[in-house]
């Protein structure tokens, strides 16, 4: 799992570099909120963040908080690290989470035994402060069954 912030050891894993389009996502994450863009025209939430709506030119995208609840849509257990910074994490779970609001996010499933992860596992957002500037949106299993 991505390590907690430690003042003595600099964070060694790749960090997201927010740009003007993605900044609201990362700003919300820092406040431990999950916020995505929503189409005013269709009401649909989208992810990844975009400068222009995929639903046509006469649409606007507005940032809105979402529940953070969802389920594992697909996953894999990484048993080998592809970069040295992740060697101490193996085995770790990489997943695509389908949010209740629809969009798919990639993240790790943390706070669980990797062997217990299955497609359909109910999860909730977990916010991990990895540096003073960056908080990663992760997911952990939740006890309530999936809708």
């Amino acid at each position: 799992m991505p390590g907690e912030l430690s003042p003595k050891t600099p964070y060694a894993k790749p960090l997201p570099d927010p740009n003007p389009v993605t900044q609201p996502f990362w700003d919300a994450a820092k406040e431990h909120r999950l916020r995505l863009q929503r189409s005013r025209k269709t009401g649909q939430f989208i992810h990844y963040p975009r400068a222009v709506s995929p639903f046509g030119a006469n649409d606007e995208l507005a940032w809105e908080d979402v529940s953070g609840r969802g389920h594992v849509w697909s996953y894999t257990v990484a048993r080998r690290a592809t970069a040295p910074q992740f060697e101490s994490d193996v085995p770790y779970v990489i997943a695509i989470v389908e949010l209740e609001e629809g969009p798919h996010l990639t993240a790790n499933i943390i706070d669980c035994d990797p062997d217990t992860v299955r497609v359909g596992l109910p999860v909730e957002a977990a916010f991990v402060d990895v540096t003073p500037e960056i908080t990663l949106v992760q997911f952990r299993p939740r006890s309530a069954p999936a809708e």
Binding site: T22, V77, T82, A83
Partner: protein, 389 residues
């Protein structure tokens, strides 16, 4: 049939490859390997290498045509082409582009080539060492999601979930490649057979891929020379005639952060449709198939999307019995392919498809009329090729 087709107009007339090495094992430079393969293909065809006037490759091959043509002494270069996209999705695409150049009359002899010495340059699939990542990777790399193996694993895992099967199919695909490689002295894994027990006992790389579900890493080069069917008649080899070549990518398959609308796919749905349309044949007509194995799960989905079996039948249809060169329903990867012959980025699958048409494979299928290649599952774009005797 429309006049605007490459069908029956182009033939493969020369093939060659270098010795295939384990990664880091090549004693000469990648450029020299590439030249060796091209010169070998010209000799096989019975032409002077200087007659080559067209070049096509893929996956950002480092050995660019201006340098190759200078080294070969080509009198003129009238076609210089790179198929965009990563992985091995461009193998048959480069063939398709070569066919287009020949039918258009741009060139007379086009070489499709791939040189790859991973030991001399970077490894494919290596994770980023960058401290920060912007754009789409900002939503993947911080989570340790970087390698093709990891990305493709999630496509396959979703397919397995939706269709409740696939582990046995993956195993059969892997065992088949290793079995066929034992007949092929060119194969890096020749002399290293794989037992079902060893497959099951191998370490996980990234679920659902164990070690032997993954392609190798190698050094080497291969080359294929194409010309028009008219010129082919005067050359040394029995021509392998192209009856279809297609390339492409389905709707938003490259959507960032794993957001392709159709996710559990090898990306062949639209490409296969065009392929069968051009060829005018159906899957049951195929005598032998070479299907690109970056990972076995990709082969499984490729075969489904080309119509060889339904998505819920993979474990029943994809067996070592059905994949055998001698009597299988769909002889598969008869040289050992990327898993066990050489990760020549799928160009070794095309040379093998040609050998099957010529009747010179080390795992020769009887009476081959139709020989097929699927290049690069799960990447964008992908491509296909069908040859006939």
């Amino acid at each position: 049939m429309s006049d605007y087709t490459v069908k029956d107009k182009v033939a493969v007339v020369g093939i060659a490859e270098t010795t295939y090495y384990k990664r880091g094992g090549a004693p000469i430079s990648e450029m020299q390997l590439t030249l060796q393969a091209i010169i070998g293909a010209a000799q096989d065809a019975g032409i002077d290498p200087r007659q080559i006037d067209g070049f096509a490759s893929y996956s950002n091959d480092r050995n660019d045509p201006p340098r190759l043509a200078a080294a070969l002494g080509c009198e003129d270069v009238s076609f210089s082409n790179m198929f965009w996209g990563g992985g091995g999705g461009g193998g048959s695409g480069a063939m398709a582009n070569a066919c287009a150049a020949l039918v258009a009359g741009y060139s007379k002899y086009v070489v499709v080539y791939r040189g790859l010495a991973q030991g001399q340059f970077g490894r494919f699939g290596q994770g980023t060492q960058a401290k920060t990542v912007s754009g789409a990777p900002a939503y993947t790399a911080p989570y340790g999601l970087m390698s093709p193996a990891q990305s493709f694993a999630m496509r396959v895992q979703r397919f397995m979930h939706e269709h409740n099967g696939g582990h046995a199919a993956q195993k059969a695909i892997s065992l088949t490649s290793y079995a066929h490689a034992q007949r092929n002295a060119r194969a890096v894994m020749h002399g290293s057979p794989l037992s079902p027990e060893a497959y099951d006992g191998a370490r996980w790389i990234v679920e659902p891929f164990r070690l032997f579900d993954c392609c190798m890493e190698n050094d080497g080069a291969a080359a294929v020379i194409l010309t028009t069917v008219e010129r082919a008649r005067d050359l040394r080899q029995k021509p392998a005639i192209v009856i279809a070549a297609s390339q492409g990518s389905d709707y938003r398959q490259a959507a960032p952060a794993h957001n392709a609308p159709d996710y559990a796919t090898s990306n062949f749905k639209t490409v296969a449709k065009r392929l069968w349309g051009m060829a005018g044949i159906s899957p049951k007509d195929v005598d032998v198939c070479q299907s690109y194995e970056n990972f076995t799960g990709g082969v499984m989905m490729s075969l489904v999307e080309h119509g060889f079996c339904g998505p819920d039948e993979v474990d029943d249809f994809m067996t070592t019995e059905n994949f055998r060169f001698d009597g299988g329903k769909l002889p598969l990867n008869t040289s050992g392919g990327n898993l066990a012959e050489c990760y020549m980025h799928g160009l070794e699958l095309i040379t093998e498809a040609v050998r099957q048409v010529r009747g010179t494979s080390t795992a020769q299928v009887k009476n081959v009329d139709i020989s097929m290649v699927c290049s690069g599952p799960m990447v964008q774009p992908v491509s296909d090729l069908i040859l006939r005797a």
